[in-house]
Symmetry: C2
Subunit: 453 residues, 2 copies
């Protein structure tokens, strides 16, 4: 009987997050104040985030202690198991060992609570009473609702209207944890009202929802904004995934040749990748691969540029791979991968050639996902299907090259709430969309006049 899972005891949970900023060979470009064009100060961000998180956002300290109350909540589902996909390996019949870190084990079923819990905690400690945020597919909104329930904070979530309508289970999940979920664009904010005035039937977008959530949060001493991906402190919190994986691999004496994750805003990918990027920077021979959708190919086809995080151009300018803040991707089922930009840290690593990016289209990702479900059991989230497609591709390469490989990836979440997408796939109704060069060029027009990194 081969070992399938490597588990850690509660006492083995990492006590610190890893901050890649301490180890980058070249420093990152700073975020810029859109008004002045100068690097933002902590004070600039103070109306939006609590100061303790702003300090984390800007920190270059290598290890940052995980507060005890955060650890206590993490232990509700962490350490997550590291699993070997023996059945899937057999199916692929390639010279690969496949390990995955199962983040679907959390109560909302994804990696998102890894940062929702500390964000709720730091806001609570700072005296904040209410958090506002946005959510696309709903993974983030439900994670933050849960975290706020646990620390006694109110939670207000602006959910992209089309997802709000198509994914009733996600908003019910938020409601069960006590969060208030509002379809965006809404009439609660000026940003929402402006959009509605132009198009009362707007299906919404993540960019619009971010604008609404920020507007809703700022200007009130008791409320702040919370973001579920992209920013440095969010990626920092997610490193608990990779740090646990390293402990687990050490227990069985394994060293991955390839580390992979799907990338939307970048936090899931960074969660598994950054501790291994550290090894790579220090000389270890290891491939680190981000998998994104061909319909929102931020890393593979977007330039590295300064851009806004939202459509209303209220955020600082972030140095990142972007398709332009006005870009609205096709409504593919992997809602968590439909962001126009990419975390500055991940973008920087791709620009520096430390991380490789690959794009996969919807049909090949669901083909991989159904194979996975029928052999390994768990039905993957549509986002996760992207990295599974990357694993399939990597296995095929290993077979062609006749080379043994150990693959590690992060299984960002299960797809139990996304079964309508599987229905579309299984009945042959799933759409495929590859962006033309013209479409991308058009989308990038909107950032032509912004400062260049």
């Amino acid at each position: 009987m081969e070992q399938r899972k490597i588990v850690l005891a509660d006492s083995e949970i990492p006590r610190q997050w890893y901050n890649i900023q301490a180890d980058l060979p070249k420093p990152m470009c700073p975020p810029l104040h859109p008004g002045t064009g100068k690097p933002v100060n902590p004070e600039d961000l103070a109306p939006v985030f609590p100061m303790n998180l702003i300090e984390q956002e800007m920190s270059t300290q290598r290890w940052i202690d995980i507060p005890e109350p955060v650890l206590e909540k993490y232990l509700l589902w962490r350490p997550t198991p590291l699993c070997r996909a023996i059945n899937f390996e057999k199916l692929l019949d390639a010279p690969v060992k496949i390990y995955y870190k199962y983040e679907g084990a959390s109560p909302p079923g994804s990696h998102k609570p890894n940062t929702a819990v500390p964000q709720a905690y730091y806001n609570k400690v700072f005296g904040i009473k209410r958090l506002s945020t946005e959510t696309g597919a709903g993974q983030w909104g439900s994670a933050l609702s849960m975290a706020c329930a646990m620390f006694g904070l109110e939670c207000r979530i602006f959910m992209v209207k089309i997802s709000y309508q198509q994914k009733p289970y996600r908003r019910l999940m938020m409601a069960t944890w006590g969060g208030e979920c509002i379809p965006s664009p809404s009439d609660r904010t000026q940003a929402g009202r402006n959009i509605l005035a132009e198009d009362p039937d707007s299906p919404g977008s993540l960019g619009i929802a971010i604008s609404e959530a920020i507007e809703d949060a700022v200007g009130n001493k008791d409320s702040r904004y919370s973001l579920g991906s992209v920013l440095n402190h969010v990626l920092l919190h997610q490193t608990v995934i990779g740090l646990e994986a390293q402990k687990q691999l050490a227990k069985i004496g394994e060293n991955p040749d390839v580390v992979m994750g799907c990338a939307g805003g970048g936090s899931n990918f960074a969660g598994i990748a950054l501790p291994f990027v550290c090894d790579k920077i220090h000389g270890k021979n290891i491939s680190v691969v981000a998998a994104e959708p061909t319909s929102c190919p931020t890393l593979t086809r977007g330039p590295f540029a300064y851009d806004f995080g939202d459509i209303a151009m209220t955020t600082p300018l972030l140095p990142m791979h972007t398709l332009g803040h006005g870009f609205v991707p096709e409504p593919i089922h992997a809602g968590g991968l439909r962001y126009h930009g990419m975390a500055p840290i991940v973008s920087h690593l791709v620009k520096e050639g430390i991380v490789e990016a690959r794009a996969y289209d919807q049909i090949e990702t669901f083909t991989a996902g159904v194979k996975w479900a029928r052999s390994e059991g768990v039905i993957p989230a549509p986002e996760t299907n992207h990295v599974i497609a990357a694993v399939v591709q990597e296995a095929e390469r290993a077979k062609q090259e006749g080379k043994e490989k150990t693959i590690l990836f992060t299984f960002s979440g299960h797809g139990i709430i996304d079964l309508a997408a599987y229905d579309a796939f299984l009945s042959g109704k799933l759409a495929q969309h590859r962006l033309s060069d013209e479409e991308i060029a058009r989308a990038l027009k909107g950032i032509e006049n912004l400062p260049k990194p």
Copy 2:
């Protein structure tokens, strides 16, 4: 930092199931052939089940080896964690320690695959190519679909029509694993056609769906029927839950005073309870409590009698607590607890005073479930909410008595597919239904002329 979870390594998974038949102080009444009124023979069951499972059904051997291929599949999610509900304890503010065995960790999100996997395996080994079954809420149908996918069997599921319509995600889950899900009553079987002739709009019931599945399975050498609860071999397979829990409790030196589970057909309850019932039979001071709904109070208000397992009266007569095979409970949200009968083993233990039964109504169970979700994270299945209500009651009693207690219960599954029920509860639309004595007396008329135990 207090320990929250007690985990077992893959190598610590139990290698045998526990068969309570070896330890019962009084033997159980045998199932009877409805035609002859005599105890059924293995041959009577041969058209319905494969002989290797029939042998298990009738075995009195105390320990039964878990086959290696079953263990390999179990390891996809087992051993499941034993968790301490520290946040919920704080909320209740009572002198209790609460441990729960988290069966929501399986791919379909419930305890059901614990028996689906061995049933698929034994059928495969016996040369069977297709399994037919029924499902109410859909937990069982999705578990069996997954298990059949893993062993290369076809799977056909008759799903109670009202659930088929109300729970599209469940049938999509079955489809993703490759199972064929048919709304019942259907025109595929004589049993279904008879019902439809009387009432073309019949919402279906578990009793009808069982009749259809049995009819569909028998009379074909390549197909057999599979049942997800009630029978001895099903309960046997579920004992892996309690056996793991015993190993986990031994690691921290804990002894539960109370062991609890919700009970519909009885397999989830038996899974946690039977290994502890063994301890109790051998002198340990321990309470064992089954929690059922007031709207289907099989154990608390149904007599111990011989009755059919299905509405078409095709099964053997089982000695069990029953409300009568014609009883159709109100459409409460805990679909898994809407069966007219109860596992003969569980019924026998209640009759003998070894197990205690308590009933809870829908509103108190959801009240408990929402409290749980907001403190412990995981949103429980509506079925699981019944045992959580029982835990709340037990904690209140401990507080009144000023007595310290350690409670163990089985968390049968998560409620992510049942969020519509939480929506109904949170918006005050949840129905409450307590059966009158007249209703029960009426339902029991249908079994008056059957043999008595």
